[in-house]
């Protein structure tokens, strides 16, 4: 598909540039937090800034850019956005459970003990 920069008006170039810089900055902030935070359970929060804000902003910038450059509606970047939004919580929850399992097995840190099934509250389990 041929797209050129000459097709793009100024009112589309400014939001494209701004959204690109904002998305990249959010990703950088997430990475810095990922380096600086102390424990693993705090550290797992930081990269989600890049996967939500960074992906969202750069995806919208790419949609605006290709829609104005080819003079037709280009929204296939939504695929990446939906995919990342669905898969990131699954990944991080699996990783957090794995880390909790390892910490309990090695008994280091102050992780909460595993709840046995009879200690759990009984409501909501009847169905």
């Amino acid at each position: 598909m041929s797209a050129s920069f000459e097709n793009i008006p100024l009112w589309a170039a400014i939001p494209v540039g701004g959204l690109l810089v904002v998305g990249a900055f959010l990703t950088l902030v997430g990475a810095i937090g990922f380096l600086r935070l102390g424990t693993f359970y705090e550290r797992i929060h930081a990269p989600t800034l890049g996967t939500s804000g960074g992906i969202g902003a750069i995806m919208i910038a790419s949609m605006i850019f290709f829609s104005t450059a080819t003079r037709s509606l280009v929204i296939h970047e939504l695929l990446i956005g939906i995919f990342i939004t669905v898969t990131t919580p699954i990944t991080f929850m699996l990783l957090a459970r794995a880390a909790l399992h390892r910490d309990r097995a090695e008994q280091n840190g102050n992780v909460p003990p595993k709840q046995s099934p009879e200690q759990k509250p009984a409501e909501g389990r009847q169905s």
Binding site: G17, V21, T27, L28, A61, V74, L79, I80, L95
Partner: protein, 93 residues
Amino acid sequence: MSATIIQISVTIAQMMIVAAMAIASIRMFRGPRAQDRIIALDTLYVNAMLLLLTFGIGTARVVYFEAALVIGMLGFVATVALAKFLMRGEVIE
């Protein structure tokens, strides 16, 4: 004018994303335990996908979109497999 704005902001965004990738790889080499390294790998995958999207804007080609999609899917599968390995000790039971 608009081409200049887009080129400059694409360059700035690429430098920021490359800095984020460098920081993630520092954590991957330094990370105290295996789960830190796995999260660093996942961050590296996401940042590579963002870098490919900005590449696509900078060169005005749609080809980079498919590469970004494939990298996102491979990153998800790799991270889930590694997390499963940490939890169970094997990937396919």
